[in-house]
Symmetry: C2
Subunit: 269 residues, 2 copies
């Protein structure tokens, strides 16, 4: 693309506040963009910034033709209205795929979303590349966040799995999960999913990332998944570790979405 | 509303072709609007009409301030692009709630759709008015149409059920369905759901409407549901009949959505 158009895909990130996990994610995204030869710009705002400051940053990236993807690192501090902020994102640059129009198109048959949210897309990619059949399988998604759980269940449905979304009000989540051929969990509660929750041979994708304090770690913490790995590894036929499992796939999909967006913007086939 | 604003809610329907079931639905909607004192207008187009004719009808209703709700009676004939047609509908008049932005807002937590699709909304209303608790219950929705199955599963999730969408690729649909406290079926296959598919005490909502030929009927056909009623009635704790179960609720919700839309348009609290 650079050779024939003289342009490279550009990704802009808006990061508000000092959350350690958010900082890690953004650091990893920066590194990946550099390695892939993409342009990367970031706006860092303090924890107590105003909605107007966030919106201004987004507007300028919306208008900037060298930026093809914009993402707002979530979660935002409580005083900012996440929905309102995300609605401002220009649809063609919403590489995270969090806009409700995009989510509707992901859910509905016969329609195509502009972007598939990166983490769910990465999970499916992992399944496909590991030759896990999705069609007709029972899939349980634990956690119904707008970022992972909800779009993951919609995407699994799109791939013709029979999907069930398990959440805080689900009775006997253990029993429901034990029915599943594919378990995808995205809650943020370490060791929530024990070995006993799994059907022998199930495929387990752990999207949980809880930052547990760890003074031995150079960043002062380490990421923990939702799954009790030591138990699950003896029951599952395949399982993703945390860290190092889904995380790198999410970033790869972010770059893939940004590249796709740049191609569309530049009419580059 | 008429007293204080001099205006009444207005509903416009676009009906393409001669499907008997569609004609029945539209006839029932006309009658309901008349009874409720709402304005009702209809554009009827022949089976072989062009997309432009449909779009022209929609555009004129979009612009007409006396029309607060527009619905395109689905399904459209094969040669018309349903998605393209529905996308033209002005969001504030999409009383069927089929626009993908509306569907996204229905799916996502922390967001509110402008309209909840009428049939799923009617089903939930039936459950609530029959004192069926939804929160924490296992719900199985059979059929994943954009009109009923998909939004019904999203709406049940919104009410904190643990929802599973069963479809053509689901293995052992009978077994999956037998786990459910609430079964909602919207497929259009008469007698698909037998008594053996149900957990004793399950609540069954039958949205199926298959027009079976019947020379004894004044319209030449009668509507059949998805559920084998005679068997199911002995197993279920509650069940809706076809016809006369969900149908009237759908129409009531359509009027309710149209009224809501008129109130918004006229700033009438």
């Amino acid at each position: 693309m650079k050779k024939s158009t003289g342009k490279v895909p550009g990704l802009a990130v808006v990061l508000v506040g000092q959350r350690k996990d958010s900082q890690t994610y953004v650091r990893n995204k920066t590194k990946a963009c550099e390695e892939a030869g993409m342009k990367f710009v970031i706006t860092e705002l303090p924890d107590n910034c105003t909605e107007i400051q966030v919106c201004n940053a987004l507007s300028s990236y919306n208008e900037n033709p060298s930026i093809h993807g914009i993402l707002v690192q979530l979660p935002l501090p409580q005083h900012l209205d996440e929905g309102k902020v995300l609605d401002l994102l220009r649809l063609e640059k919403d590489v995270d795929g969090f806009h409700p129009l995009n989510m509707g198109n992901l859910a509905m048959r016969g329609r195509e979303p502009l972007f598939i949210p990166c983490t769910p897309k990465g999970c499916i990619e992992l399944l496909l590349r590991s030759d896990v059949k999705i069609m007709g399988k029972k899939a349980v998604v634990i956690g119904r966040s707008n970022i992972v759980g909800l779009p993951a269940s919609l995407l699994l449905q799109r791939h013709h799995a029979t999907a069930t979304l398990v959440h805080a009000f689900t009775k006997n989540p253990e029993q429901v999960t034990r029915e599943a051929d594919i378990v995808l969990t995205a809650v943020g509660v370490p060791n929530l999913v024990r070995g006993s929750w799994l059907k022998p041979g199930a495929v387990v994708i752990d999207v949980g990332t809880y930052p547990a304090e760890d003074s031995n770690n150079e960043h002062g913490y380490r990421l923990m998944g939702d799954v009790c790995y030591e138990e699950a590894v003896n029951v599952a036929s395949a399982i993703t570790p945390v860290p190092g499992g889904v995380g790198p796939m999410t970033i790869a999909m972010l770059l893939s979405n940004t590249l796709e967006s740049a191609k569309r913007a530049l009419n580059f086939a």
